[in-house]
């Protein structure tokens, strides 16, 4: 199968859905001729015109709110927030409006919108351009939260998200954009809320999100040579979470390491651990480990940022702590 990048896979999903359904349109800052800060929407304006690929002023609250309103009124907008850090500016819209509309109106309205946003650290962009914020939205009932780790997942989930009648927040790790992988050319969907075992193993489960999946896979490969069999599970959708895939894996391996780039306290890793302990307590053979970012803002300086981000060394050490 042909290989394309994560970024291309997203663009392909957008293109195919825009062709398929004329209600689908894009809006965001510099997504038109400029192609978005990470080039994801590059070329789409030439194909679909500026009516359906809309550059907006720097107005995140209006982007999120207008996408919500357009969705309620029959369109299927895909909004982009340039950095996930800036979802804060759209927070009132997303949390108090987007997430609540269907429920508080007794099901009389739907909000079929997608909000795509680049996320994560590792680019030296410091405290306001590097955060992992998806866990905030996991905590808001009424929002679907996706963080795909591969080009294949990115395309399949984005199409599902666009076709879904409810708001989906789609987090794309900046460092994944150039990742290549096999992606079917045709349209396909992956059901929201379904995780995937990215690598089978029997000694320890590593439950990793977004880019951390790749770091976990790398460690799994290294440890394989040392005779340690690591199972890597990727939830892919953080809300609703595939709890069963986590519980089943832990029941199988009896050991769990959760890896997430978000800060440790009140983080997604904590949630995953809670689910595992609730669902597989009597199967646990070692204390559960969390590998997460420390409770600090993301620092700028190279050595500090390296120390900040969960990496292969930390994952490996955590796995070993469950074994010895």
């Amino acid at each position: 199968m042909r290989e394309i990048t994560y970024s291309e896979a997203i663009r392909e999903a957008l293109r195919q859905e825009m062709k398929r359904d004329e209600r689908v349109f894009l809006m965001g800052e510099d997504i038109g001729p400029f192609g978005g800060s990470f080039g994801v929407t590059r070329g789409l304006i030439d194909e679909f015109g500026k009516d359906r690929v809309r550059d907006t002023p720097i107005s995140e609250a209006a982007i999120a709110g207008a996408a919500t309103g357009a969705a309620v009124a029959g369109m299927r907008p895909v909004a982009e927030i340039m950095f996930s850090d800036f979802t804060t500016i759209a927070m009132d819209q997303l949390v108090n409006q987007t997430a609540k509309i269907r429920y508080q109106f007794g099901g009389k309205a739907r909000v079929p919108m997608v909000l795509r946003t680049p996320t994560g650290a590792g680019t030296g962009a410091a405290a306001q351009h590097s955060q992992t914020v998806y866990n905030w939205f996991v905590h808001v009932p009424g929002l679907i939260v996706v963080a795909p780790s591969t080009p294949r997942d990115a395309k399949g989930f984005l199409i599902s998200a666009i076709r879904n009648d409810n708001p989906v927040l789609f987090f794309e790790h900046k460092l994944l954009y150039s990742f290549k992988g096999e992606v079917p050319e045709e349209e396909y969907t992956i059901p929201l809320g379904v995780g995937e075992v990215k690598r089978e193993g029997k000694d320890v489960t590593v439950f990793a999100t977004s880019i951390m999946v790749h770091k976990a896979l790398k460690v799994a490969e290294e440890l394989d040579e040392e005779g340690i069999s690591v199972e890597v599970v990727d939830p892919r959708t953080l809300k609703p979470l595939d709890e069963e895939i986590l519980i089943q894996s832990v029941r199988k391996t009896s050991r769990l390491v959760v890896v997430d780039e978000g800060p440790r306290s009140g983080g997604f890793a904590a949630e995953a651990v809670a689910i595992a302990v609730e669902g597989a307590f009597d199967y646990l053979d070692a204390p559960v480990q969390r590998v997460a970012a420390p409770d600090t803002p993301v620092p700028y300086s190279l050595p500090l940022e390296k120390a900040y981000i969960p990496d292969e060394g930390k994952i490996r050490a955590a796995i070993q702590r469950t074994l010895k």
Binding site: S254, F281, D282, Y283, L284, D285, A286, P287, R321, T322, L323, K324
Partner: protein
């Protein structure tokens, strides 16, 4: 300072309690008000809460031991508290027993290599290891942990289980070998005689051994009782939401008869026969792990509907296991009804130290002769077992005849008592 944990007195009539289960282990941290052990008394298991906060330093009474109320069963203290020699001495018996158990399991090793203990003495073991050990009947204290921080893991438990299988402990060896030697029937399951079952066994053998039973039987024509029940059933159900049963009517009749024949409402304690003024009939109720007898206090003074409501409440509590100690004590007479199982008649064993028990069979349509005619009538068989030391045959017969009379002409109940 060490504080004593005592066998509590949990009911007015309680003199001893059996330690059913320790809910805390030595070294566990305890909060005031937290359950610390389960005590069984008079067929009821109760949780006992700690009076003090601190560390459970020493347990001096084992599970299964019957201990007089107020006797010390454990000590609570803080980290600095060291058990005194005297305390250790008192604990010796229990410790020795524990040790012999331990030796039986871990015979190959002279000094069992113990698992790492966390602060406070709790054994470090993974949840999986704990579950497996429990399933395999292994004592975690005797398993060496190889996991992170000396924690016992699944692998350690499996290894221990394997070892145990290879070298079965003597007691177990005997148990396994026995059927082969004797050619005795294959045992499907071995259920230790503990808890409620043990108490029932002790009580009933004591009764059967000590109280010479006399059993008399009578047939009762329930035609009128049936009319009575049919005419009240709807009213009672409508008003109180309970179904009036024949048991209620028989209870009422029995209570009124007891009032007239107090010799049956009595007990033999030592050299004395106590005749009770209160008529508190206990009703035997089958529950999953045995039998329990809640008491309907002042049965004679209750109306039929009151009896029905009380009966229903107590049966429900019995099945939920939520009867209080006071609800199962204080009985002066017992009634046991196996009619619902189709039993025509049976003789019951007296609930000591009471004088008698009434066994109630099923009501069945039977051909009987009335005024020279063979007619079909609903017939009930009542059997009274009485302690012959207190109750003569004639007294028993008179009493039972009166019960029959009240049931056959239930309106008499209105002018009795």
């Amino acid at each position: 300072m060490l504080k004593e944990v005592i066998m509590p007195q949990l009911g007015l009539t309680m003199t001893t309690g059996t330690i059913q289960k320790w809910l805390k282990k030595e070294g566990d941290q305890l909060e005031k008000g937290e359950p610390i052990l389960e005590v069984m008394t008079d067929k009821v298991t109760m949780e006992v809460e700690s009076f003090d906060s601190g560390i459970l330093k020493k347990i001096v009474a084992r599970e299964g031991e019957e201990i007089p109320v107020t006797q010390v069963i454990a000590y609570i203290g803080d980290e600095k508290d060291e058990p005194s020699p005297e305390l250790i001495a008192r604990a010796t018996e229990a410790k020795a027993a524990l040790a012999s158990e331990a030796a039986a399991v871990a015979e190959p090793q002279k000094e069992p290599a113990l698992a790492e203990e966390e602060e406070g003495g709790r054994i470090k073991a993974s949840p999986l290891a704990r579950r497996l050990a429990q399933e395999k009947g292994l004592d975690l204290r005797l398993i060496k942990g190889s996991g992170p921080g000396g924690r016992i893991t699944k692998e350690d438990v499996l290894k221990a289980a394997e070892e145990k299988e290879r070298r079965p402990a003597p007691a177990e060896a005997a148990r396994v070998a026995a059927p082969q030697i004797a050619g005795a029937p294959q045992v499907a399951e071995v259920i230790p005689l503990t808890g409620l079952r043990k108490i029932i066994a002790e009580r009933l053998s004591e009764s059967f051994r000590n109280a010479p039973h006399i059993v008399i039987t009578m047939q009762v024509d329930m035609t009128q009782a049936q009319v009575l029940r049919d005419s009240l059933l709807f009213l009672v159900e409508e008003k109180w939401g309970v179904r009036l049963s024949y048991t209620d009517i028989i209870l009422k009749a029995t209570a009124l008869a007891l009032k007239e024949y107090p010799g049956l409402n009595s007990s033999l304690v030592g050299e004395e026969i106590k005749i009770y003024q209160d008529i508190n009939i206990g009703l035997a109720v089958a529950i999953p792990d045995g039998l329990i007898v809640p008491t309907i206090f002042g049965t004679d003074g209750l109306s039929l509907s009151e009896i029905a409501r009380k009966r229903e409440e107590l049966v429900k509590k019995a099945r939920e296991g939520s009867l209080s100690l006071d609800e199962v004590g204080g009985g002066t007479f017992t009634m046991s009804n196996l009619g619902m199982y189709g039993v025509e008649s049976f003789s019951a064993i007296i609930n000591p130290p009471q004088a008698a028990i009434l066994a109630v069979g099923a009501i069945e349509e039977k051909a009987v002769v009335r005024e020279g005619q063979i007619v079909i009538r609903p017939q009930l068989t009542l059997s009274l077992s009485a302690d012959h030391r207190m109750v003569d045959g004639a007294l028993a017969a008179q009493f039972l005849a009166r019960v029959r009379e009240l049931l056959e002409s239930p309106y008499l109940m209105l002018i009795s008592g």
